[in-house]
Structure formats: structure tokens, C-alpha cells
Symmetry: C2
Subunit: 367 residues, 2 copies
């Protein structure tokens, strides 16, 4: 158990945004919300999953919707209490701790804000180890854990509570209401026991995010003897996919998702080559000179070529120079059940899943 100070929060936001793989929202907005809440209400407390009693009651607090909309809509502080009241009423018991549903610039931060507002700790675990666009795409679904009861509220005060027959149906019905509410809402979902969390959660993800964020922050002031790029690939355990300049970003906001493709012209050692990355909130597939180098569920992360700060899909713009890496996803995603939920074919990509380390074997991506 430890209190999160301002630097901790900033590092978590930055590292979680990297793990967001293009989604999960803008870490700048995320950290403003979390730091504001901590300054106003008092510290947020992080606990290790091992500190949870088996019969503890935990649930996730998150935003749902298109990240571009999320950046436009105000987030108050009343939502957390509203969500918690609805959930405790339906669960018939109090909640011992909250947790983030995914890594990402906003969804790693909202539980910190909620922790400050509600005075209950955050568990150092999530349900993805990255960000994914749909609600059923969590390790908990593989574990047979119900997303419901799930509570949803918007900034106007509308509240909706779900009990569905499957996590996919929760996604469907919550997405409809999210769209009707203007494209982004606050939710509480996947209530579960401490035992279930320890069994199926992606453990210590906030601590990992924090270490990644700290390393990005200090990438130019480190004394490893490595170049910043080499150092970045080392600490992130990343596979180098491409370096280039953005030449076009095709976007479409549809069904409360951001769809699109970013096109890149190679720079530096990639000069004369080209690449693209497809996304649905998160990056789905990276293709260099016609060869697919990485797909979901592995993480495709686009970072600023100089600072190595993560660039979310909504921040992609013409002329920006970026560096693209692939990270191995959490092991459970590579099982048949995991690939059924989040493999490339689910997203309409015409390829089987091949782990990023195999796709990059022998190529320039090997480090």
C-alpha cells in the first residue's frame, strides 16, 4: 500500500498512455483530472492485489466512448459517487477497492481521481494490460466473469444500470447509450471478488506504467551508455517497427469509435520506405512495405521520434515525426479464447495472429 504523489501520477499517465497502444485517451487530460482530484480531496492509495482479501468486493471505474469526444467533454467529480451509489445498491454491499479497466492516458487516471473522491484504494491491476476498444475485451471475460451489474452516467446526470446475458451484450447496449449521451460517459463495471481479481487480472500494471513513464521522462538523462532509442527499446521491451513522418491520417468517428489509418513515409534508416497503421481507438495493425509486422492483441505504440512520448490515435497529425514499436501482449491474450476476443480477425483484419516477436524475427525489428 502506498500513496501516489504528483510525480507518481504523472509517470503512470505517461506509461499507461504508451500501453494504451494509441487508445485510452490523452494522458494530459487524464493527469489533470487525477491531480485535480488528489489536490482537492486528498491522496489516492494504491494497493497490491496480494493485499486484497479473497472475499473483497472490487469494481472498475472508467470512461467509455470515443477518445476524441472524451477530450471535448467536461468531467465533474459527481460521477464517481453516482456510480458507486448505483453499484452498492445493486450489489447489496460496500465496495472495498476500485481498479482501472485498461491502461491508457485517461482510463488509468480516472480510478485515481475516484479513489481520492471516494476514499477507497486502487488495486494495482487491470483487465487488459493495454487498451482495447470494446468492453468485453478483458481477461475477465476469459475467466467467465460478468461485466454486470454495470452502471453508466453522463455529465448531465442521466444514469443507466445494466444486467445482461453476456459481456458482448453489455458492450452493445452500453455503446448505444454512450452514443445517445454524446459519445463519452463514465461507467462502473466488472464487479468481482479479490480472489477473481488475483486470478484473472493483469497484475501490477500501474507499477509497470509508472516505471515506463519514469523511463520515458528521463530517457535523455540516463547513463546506461545506450542511445535514447536503444534505451527506450530496452526498458519498454519493444520491437522496432518503423520510423517516419506522418503523411496522412484518415479518420472516421462511427458508432462512438474512432476508426482510421495513419500513413507514414520513412525517415532516417527507413528513408524511401513506407508504412501504415490501422486503428479503432487503439492501433490494430502495422504494415511496413506491404509486410504486416504486428497486429492486435500485441501492442502497436506510436511515440514522438524525439521525446518517446506516446502519441494517441486522436493526436496523430500530418508532418509529425514518430517512432513505431511493437510490444508483446499479456499472455492470456495469446490463448485461443484470448484471440477469439481480440485477435486480428475480430477487427476485420485479414490475417491470422502471429506474435510480434516472430513477425519481426531476423528483421530490422529485432533488438
Amino acid at each position: 500500500m502506498r500513496k501516489l504523489d504528483i510525480t507518481d501520477i504523472e509517470d503512470i499517465a505517461l506509461g499507461a498512455a504508451l500501453l494504451g497502444a494509441g487508445g485510452g485517451g490523452d494522458p494530459y487530460i487524464g493527469k489533470l483530472i487525477a491531480i485535480g482530484a488528489v489536490r482537492e480531496k486528498g491522496p489516492a492509495v494504491l494497493i497490491d492485489p496480494e493485499e486484497l482479501e479473497d472475499d473483497a468486493q472490487v469494481l472498475a471505474i472508467a470512461m467509455m466512448g470515443a477518445p476524441t469526444v472524451l477530450a471535448e467533454k467536461a468531467i465533474g467529480g459527481n460521477e464517481y459517487r453516482t456510480l458507486m451509489n448505483m453499484m452498492t445498491q445493486f450489489l447489496g454491499r460496500s465496495v472495498d477497492a476500485i481498479y482501472p479497466i485498461e491502461a491508457g492516458g485517461v482510463n488509468s487516471m480516472l480510478p485515481i481521481a475516484a479513489s481520492a473522491h471516494l476514499g477507497i484504494p486502487i488495486v494495482d491491476a487491470d483487465g487488459m494490460g493495454r487498451a482495447f476498444p470494446e468492453l468485453q475485451m478483458v481477461t475477465f471475460t476469459i475467466g467467465g466473469i460478468d461485466s454486470c451489474p454495470m452502471a453508466l452516467t453522463d455529465e448531465k446526470g442521466n444514469c443507466v444500470l445494466y444486467r445482461t446475458i453476456s459481456n458482448k451484450w453489455t458492450e452493445e447496449l452500453a455503446r448505444s447509450v454512450t452514443m445517445s449521451c454524446g459519445g463519452a460517459v463514465s461507467v462502473a463495471l466488472y464487479p468481482m471478488s479479490g480472489k477473481q481479481m488475483k486470478e484473472y487480472g493483469v497484475l501490477n500494471i500501474l507499477t509497470r506504467s509508472q516505471k515506463l513513464g519514469e523511463a520515458i521522462r528521463t530517457v535523455k538523462n540516463q547513463d546506461s551508455g545506450l542511445s535514447p532509442e536503444e534505451h527506450f527499446l530496452r526498458f519498454s521491451e519493444g520491437y522496432k517497427l518503423f520510423r517516419g513522418k506522418i503523411t496522412d491520417v484518415r479518420r472516421e468517428t462511427r458508432g462512438a469509435f474512432n476508426f482510421g489509418r495513419v500513413l507514414l513515409d520513412g525517415t532516417g534508416e527507413y528513408k524511401g520506405r513506407s508504412a501504415y497503421v490501422d486503428f479503432q481507438n487503439e492501433n490494430l495493425l502495422a504494415c511496413v512495405d506491404g509486410e504486416i509486422l504486428a497486429t492486435v492483441p500485441d501492442l502497436i505504440c506510436i511515440v514522438d521520434a524525439e521525446t518517446f512520448s506516446p502519441v494517441t490515435t486522436d493526436a496523430l497529425k500530418y508532418g509529425k515525426r514518430v517512432f513505431v514499436i511493437g510490444l508483446q501482449c499479456f499472455g492470456l491474450w495469446r490463448t485461443p479464447a484470448g484471440l477469439e476476443l481480440t485477435g486480428p480477425r475480430y477487427f476485420g483484419c485479414e490475417t491470422d495472429y502471429i506474435p510480434v516477436e516472430e513477425r519481426c524475427k531476423g528483421g530490422q525489428a529485432d533488438v
Copy 2:
């Protein structure tokens, strides 16, 4: 308090379908559901609103969605219990009686089926005195009564509970989920006290429906000395608008509503004349030879030219011979608050509301 027998139910379905003004669902489907429930579970009991204690808890049970879809989807019996469990949990008390939200072939019948399933009585009152396409279009909205908590369930077992900031928002968010669930769902809504029901409800509407249904059933076997048409206009208190043959029906199912226009060529005393009726689930506007003769919130009812059985908008088809009448709506709809909710301009009709009896004054419509 009286038990409803099979003939009572059949007459209510028929009369309510007339008052449905083209909407509210197919009375044949409605009565099958109600009679099936009564035969299986025991009688449904109707109580007069005056029999309600002021502090009694009542709520409406209804189907929501496009009537065309409603005819395609199976309706089980589990929905009533599911809805009631959700509502009692959120209300924190038991429910003393249920009521129909609107007149109509299906929505007059579901509370009868629910009454048989749940063993609680139906109040002889509703919130429209006709059918309307949107959820906030009830006299209760004029009375400041909240539609929430509202429960929604589909035939698969998905459940959603709403608490919104306005009845219009309930419509918006429930309509989204209705569409995602395939276009038709079961709902429980507008929980209120006996006092509120007596103050704002359209009282004795089931009894009125039953009398209308009985009169339609016996229109050719009555001894009033009047022709069937004269007799029909007399007992329905209707204004004659048109008689003709359907030459075209333009339909569009959009946003879980049935939109359209039916075109008519005059027959009999209307030979050589033409008319159309616009609808959104319910009939909105009747126009004869370019002159508007009736609009919402007054009732525009299309009935079979021979049997005087109501023809719902989804049963309109080429070649059918029909008789079109206008009925005065419940008084509260003619107030400024009522017209804001359900007047012709709300539905996009470019005309002010003029009561049907004034529009038809001096014309052929006067009886």
C-alpha cells in the same frame, strides 16, 4: 373491481386498437397474449382508479418499439416478473397495481397478461387516452411525474434500468437500447402514487375501450335504427373524414419507429376525391383534397369500411377499403403544455393545432 373474462378482453383489445389511432400494435397479437396468460395463470382483475389508496404504488407495463417488429418477436411470460423484480428493488417497496401506458391493441393487453402472471390488479386508467410514439408523451409528463426508475428487458434476458434527468432523456436512452435489442422490448415505467394516478391519468380508459370494442363487434346487429356507419360515428363520437381505397403505402422503419404515408382514392360519396394520412407509428395528420382535416393530438382512426375494425398502420395495404374518422383527444392534450409535447409541430407537420371539431365544422365531416 371486476374480473375480466375472455369476451371482455377481446372487446378491450378491439376498442383500444381503435383508440390506438393506427399505433399500439395488432389487437389480434395483443389478445392472444392476454388470453393465453389468463388461461394459464388465472384471471386479471380490473380496479377503478377510485379504489386506489392515495399512497398506493402503481406502475405501467408496456412494449416499446416499432409495432411491425413487435409482431415478429416472441413474447414470453418471464419479462413481467423480471421487470417487477427490478422495479421493486429500486423502489424499495412492493407494487400494488399496474396500468397500461397507452390505448392500443398490444399495450392495452400486456398489463392484462402481467396482471394474470403477477397476481396484482390493473388500474382502469392510462397516460394517453390513445397511443403516441414517444415515451415522454404522457399526461404524467404534464403533471411533472418522472418516468424513472424505468426497467427494460428483452426476450433474451438483457435488463437495463434507467434514472434520467427528464422523460425526454428516458425516451432517448431507452430508444437506443430498444434498437440494439432488435426493435422491440418490454418495459416498466412511470411508477407513481395512487394520488398522482387519479390526478393525471386518463381515467376509465379500459372500460371505454371495452364499450367501443363491443359496439364494433355488434355494429351490424344493433337495433338503433341507424345505418352501421351512422351508428359507428355515434358511439365512437367520431368525425367522418374520408372513405376510400388504399392506392399506396410508403413506409420506412427508422430509429425503431414506423414512418410513412398512406394514399387513398375516394369511394362512395368521396368518389373522385383523394386523401392521405401521415404516420409515425400512429396517424399524425389527415389531409383530404389538400385540406388538413385532423392532426395530432386528436385521434385519426382508419377502420375497415365494412366491419369498422381498426386498421393499424402496419396493416395498411394496397387495395384495402377503409373509412377514416377523427376523434377528440383527452382534454389535457389541448393545453399549451400538452400541445408542446404532442402537437403537430413536434412531429414536423407544418400546421398549428386546430381541434378536429373545428376543422370539420360545416363540412361533410359534421355528424
